[in-house]
C-alpha cells in the first residue's frame, strides 16, 4: 500500500490554511452566499446537542486524494491526554448519548481507547470513523477485539465496491486491504444486523454528486456479498465538500466552478433543515470547539458567545447557538442532503 498524495501542508500549499480556503470559497463574484440562499430556513441554529464529535487529530496511515482533514502520516496534530480528559468531563456534563470519534485515523491516536472506554462508562453509544486499512496494521493487531468488546459502531470509508475507483481516491492497494478488514469485521460479528454495527461511507470519486443512498446501498450489499461474501448493515452516501484536498483536486482539474454551481443548483431546503450541525458539537485535537468537522478544517470556530474550548463546555450555551456558515455548506444541502450519517432529506 502506498501513500502517493503528499499532504497540502507538506507541499506548502496555500490550501493548507483554513483561512485561505475560506478566502477562495467566499470570493465575491457569480456565486450566491449560502445565507442568502437559505432564505426562510436560516439563519441556522442548533436545536439540541445530541452528538459529541471528537476529532483526535490529523495523523493517518493514508493520504486520500479527497481528504477534507489534509490528514497523513506526517501530521503532528494529536490530542493530548489532558484534552481527552476535558472531553470526557464535557461529555458527562452534556448528557449526550452519542460520541463520534474521528481523525485522521482515530485508532492510531493515543487517546482513542481512553475516549472509547470512558464514553462507554458514561453510557454513550460510540462511533469509530474507521478507514479500514488501520485494522491490518501490525501495531493494531488487538484493535478489532477492542472495538468488538466495547460494541463500538464502525462507520468505515469505502468509496466504491471496485478497486479502480477506491484506489484512485485512497491510494494503491487500499481496496484489497479494505476488503480484508471487512472480512475480519464480519468474522468478529460486525455487520450481521446485531449490536456490532458496520456501516460504509460512499462518496463520489470525482466532481459529481452521490446517487440516492438506498440505490447505492443496494449495489454495495449485492456486490460485496457476491464478490467477497461480506455483509454490512448499511451505506451512508456523502457529498464531497469543496474544502482542503478535495478543493485542491477541484481547482487543479478545472472542476471548481462547475462543481460549486452544481451544489448550488441542487440546493434543497429540506436538506438545509436537516443539516447535522444543528444537533452536534465538534471538538478539535487541541480542544477548540466547532459547529462541525468541516468548519474545524476551515479554522472557523463556534461563535464566541458559546465558549470556544472544551474545558469551558456548557451545554446550555450551545443550544440555540448560531451556526457559522459559508459556501462549503452547499455540500450539505445539495440533493438529498449530506451528513456524517448520510442523506438528511
Amino acid at each position: 500500500m502506498s501513500t502517493p498524495f503528499p499532504t497540502l501542508q507538506k507541499r506548502g500549499d496555500e490550501l493548507a490554511s483554513g483561512e485561505s480556503q475560506r478566502r477562495i470559497l467566499e470570493a465575491p463574484g457569480r456565486f450566491p452566499r449560502f445565507d442568502d440562499v437559505l432564505d426562510g430556513v436560516g439563519p441556522l441554529r442548533t436545536t439540541s446537542i445530541d452528538v459529541f464529535q471528537v476529532n483526535v487529530g490529523k495523523l493517518c496511515n493514508q493520504t486520500c486524494k479527497h481528504c477534507h482533514v489534509d490528514a497523513g502520516p506526517d501530521r503532528k496534530e494529536i490530542m493530548t491526554q489532558a484534552t481527552a480528559e476535558e472531553c470526557v468531563r464535557a461529555i458527562e456534563r452534556s448528557g449526550v448519548k452519542t460520541v463520534d470519534i474521528t481523525g485522521g485515523a482515530p485508532e492510531l491516536h493515543p487517546t482513542f481507547r481512553y475516549l472509547v472506554r470512558e464514553s462507554k462508562r458514561l453510557g454513550c453509544h460510540v462511533i469509530d470513523r474507521c478507514n479500514l486499512t488501520v485494522l491490518n496494521l501490525r501495531s493494531q493487531a488487538d484493535l478489532l477485539e477492542f472495538l468488538a468488546e466495547h460494541s463500538v459502531e464502525v462507520i468505515a470509508s469505502l468509496p466504491y465496491f471496485q478497486a479502480r475507483q477506491t484506489d484512485a481516491q485512497r491510494g494503491d492497494g487500499v481496496f484489497e486491504s479494505s476488503i480484508l478488514a471487512l472480512q475480519k469485521l464480519n468474522g468478529a460479528g460486525y455487520g450481521q444486523g446485531n449490536g456490532r454495527q458496520l456501516h460504509l461511507v460512499y462518496n463520489p470519486v470525482g466532481a459529481f454528486l452521490p446517487p440516492r443512498q438506498a440505490s447505492i446501498e443496494a449495489d454495495f450489499k449485492r456486490e460485496l456479498k457476491q464478490r467477497y461474501d461480506i455483509t454490512i448493515d448499511g451505506v451512508y452516501a456523502i457529498t464531497n465538500l469543496p474544502i482542503s484536498r478535495f478543493l485542491d483536486f477541484l481547482r487543479t482539474s478545472g472542476n471548481y466552478e462547475a462543481y460549486l454551481q452544481k451544489l448550488i443548483d441542487a440546493y434543497n431546503p429540506a436538506a438545509a433543515q436537516g443539516v447535522m450541525c444543528r444537533t452536534m458539537v465538534s471538538v478539535g485535537w487541541d480542544g477548540r470547539l466547532y459547529d462541525c468537522d468541516f468548519n474545524q478544517m476551515l479554522d472557523f470556530p463556534v461563535e464566541a458567545t458559546a465558549g470556544r474550548h472544551v474545558r469551558d463546555f456548557d451545554p446550555a450555551r450551545h443550544v440555540g447557538r448560531r451556526i457559522r456558515t459559508g459556501r462549503h455548506c452547499f455540500g450539505c444541502t445539495a440533493g438529498a442532503g449530506s451528513s456524517c450519517g448520510g442523506e438528511t432529506a
Binding site: Q165, P210, S215, D219
Partner: protein, 111 residues
C-alpha cells in the same frame, strides 16, 4: 460569438429556448421531467439509455449531461462504456441491415 458551433457555456443556457414559445417549452420540460422519473425503469437505467442515445445522435451537450447523470446515479465506467457499445452496435447493425435493401434493389435491377 463563440469560435465554434459547440460551446460548453451554452448548455446552461438551454432554458433560453423558452423565449419565443414558452408554452411549448413548458410542455416539453414537463414531459422531459416525467420521462426521467423512476418508473418501470430505474432512474439509473434511464440515464444509461440517455447516454447511449446521446452518443448515437452525437450531441455533446447530452453526452456531458448524461455522463454526469450516470455517475450520479451510481453507474461505473464499465457500465457506461457498455451502454456506448450498445449504441455503437445498433448504429453499425442498422447500417448493415440496410444492406438488404441494397441487395433487393440490386437484384431487381440485375439480370
Amino acid at each position: 460569438m463563440a469560435g465554434t458551433y459547440y460551446d460548453p457555456a451554452d448548455l446552461p443556457r438551454f432554458s433560453e429556448m423558452s423565449e419565443g414559445a414558452p408554452e411549448l417549452w413548458t410542455k416539453f420540460m414537463e414531459y422531459y421531467g416525467a420521462v426521467f422519473e423512476e418508473g418501470a425503469l430505474s432512474e439509473r437505467e434511464k440515464a444509461l439509455i440517455a447516454l447511449a442515445v446521446a452518443s448515437a445522435v452525437q450531441c455533446p451537450y447530452c453526452i456531458d449531461a448524461y455522463t454526469q447523470a450516470s455517475l450520479e446515479k451510481g453507474s461505473n465506467l464499465e457500465q457506461m462504456t457498455e451502454a456506448i457499445h450498445v449504441a455503437t452496435a445498433i448504429r453499425g447493425g442498422a447500417s448493415l441491415v440496410h444492406g438488404v435493401q441494397m441487395k433487393n434493389i440490386a437484384e431487381k435491377l440485375s439480370m
